[in-house]
């Protein structure tokens, strides 16, 4: 049952991801990407990371993708205005990414199985455990991340201003 679910979710994720790349209309790309994210969130659930799955949906599908949509609509890009690349370039792009895939997959061949140091637990994906780790081991990066977000916000506002004189 789980295996089939994995196959199904993987198929959805890969297909929607390809659609993101291949669809002509940017709006469609965004929508496919949202679907891809849902598929990935399904994987998270499958992996016992329920809280992360929820956060993933909220942040990516809810915030980031809305931002994308917003920008596309603001710039009025929902038409297929993109000039096509030459066939040669498309081919070379496919070859490059394909060879990267081959390399990545090929590198798995020599890999050894890692033995988990902790005993298996169902509950590591629960919010309590995550909170413990986040606010104990990663307190400083957590605070630094807030500064990063603040900086990003200020930067976005500055760049988004109509005229920078």
């Amino acid at each position: 049952m789980t295996t089939y679910l994995f196959y199904f979710l993987s198929f959805l994720a890969i297909m929607f991801a390809l659609m993101v790349v291949l669809s002509k209309n940017p709006i469609h790309s965004v929508l496919y990407l949202v679907l891809t994210f849902f598929a990935i969130a399904g994987h998270y659930v499958l992996l016992n990371a329920q809280f992360l799955a929820a956060v993933h949906i909220i942040v990516y599908a809810g915030a980031i993708m809305v931002l994308f949509l917003f920008v596309i609509m603001l710039l009025n890009l929902n038409k297929d205005t993109e000039p096509h690349k030459s066939l040669w370039l498309k081919g070379s792009a496919a070859v490059a990414s394909g060879s990267l895939l081959v390399i990545l997959v090929g590198s798995l061949r020599g890999a050894e199985q890692i033995i988990a140091s902790n005993p298996y637990s169902n509950s590591i994906g629960l919010i309590e455990n995550l909170g413990q780790t986040l606010f104990k081991d990663f307190l400083l990066p957590f605070e630094v991340a807030s500064i990063l977000l603040l900086g990003a916000m200020v930067g976005a506002v500055m760049l988004g201003k109509k005229s920078i004189k």
Binding site: V20, V30, K85, G98, L159
Partner: protein, 105 residues
């Protein structure tokens, strides 16, 4: 019921590799900066997925915490990146990356 009992981690590695390569393909394939951005998000998610997978297989919650940070970085990146895109569009009325060729030697 958990994926770990039936699904080997190699499968997740493969899935991540495929998603990541699709992201790369998108970056190379498209000229629209927004699509390229989305491809980058796709790559980030491929990595996220792998982190979560390892976190579960190794029973270590640090991997999942890392995903949070990646999300934070991605959010910041998208905010700034889209703002840059806005100003580029404002100046050139296009999101085609090929017009950004001021670096030509």
């Amino acid at each position: 019921m958990s994926a770990i009992q039936t699904i080997p981690i190699n499968w997740y590695l493969l899935l991540s590799a495929v998603l990541f390569s699709i992201g790369i393909l998108g970056v190379l394939f498209r000229r629209n900066a927004i699509i390229i951005f989305m491809s980058i998000e796709l790559m980030l998610n491929a990595v996220n997925l792998l982190l979560v997978a390892f976190s579960t297989y190794l029973s270590d919650s640090k991997g999942q915490v890392f995903v949070f940070f990646i999300m934070a970085v991605a959010a910041a990146e998208v905010a700034v990146g889209l703002a840059i895109l806005m100003s580029v569009y404002r100046n050139s009325k296009s999101t085609d990356i090929n017009i950004l060729s001021k670096l030509k030697g």
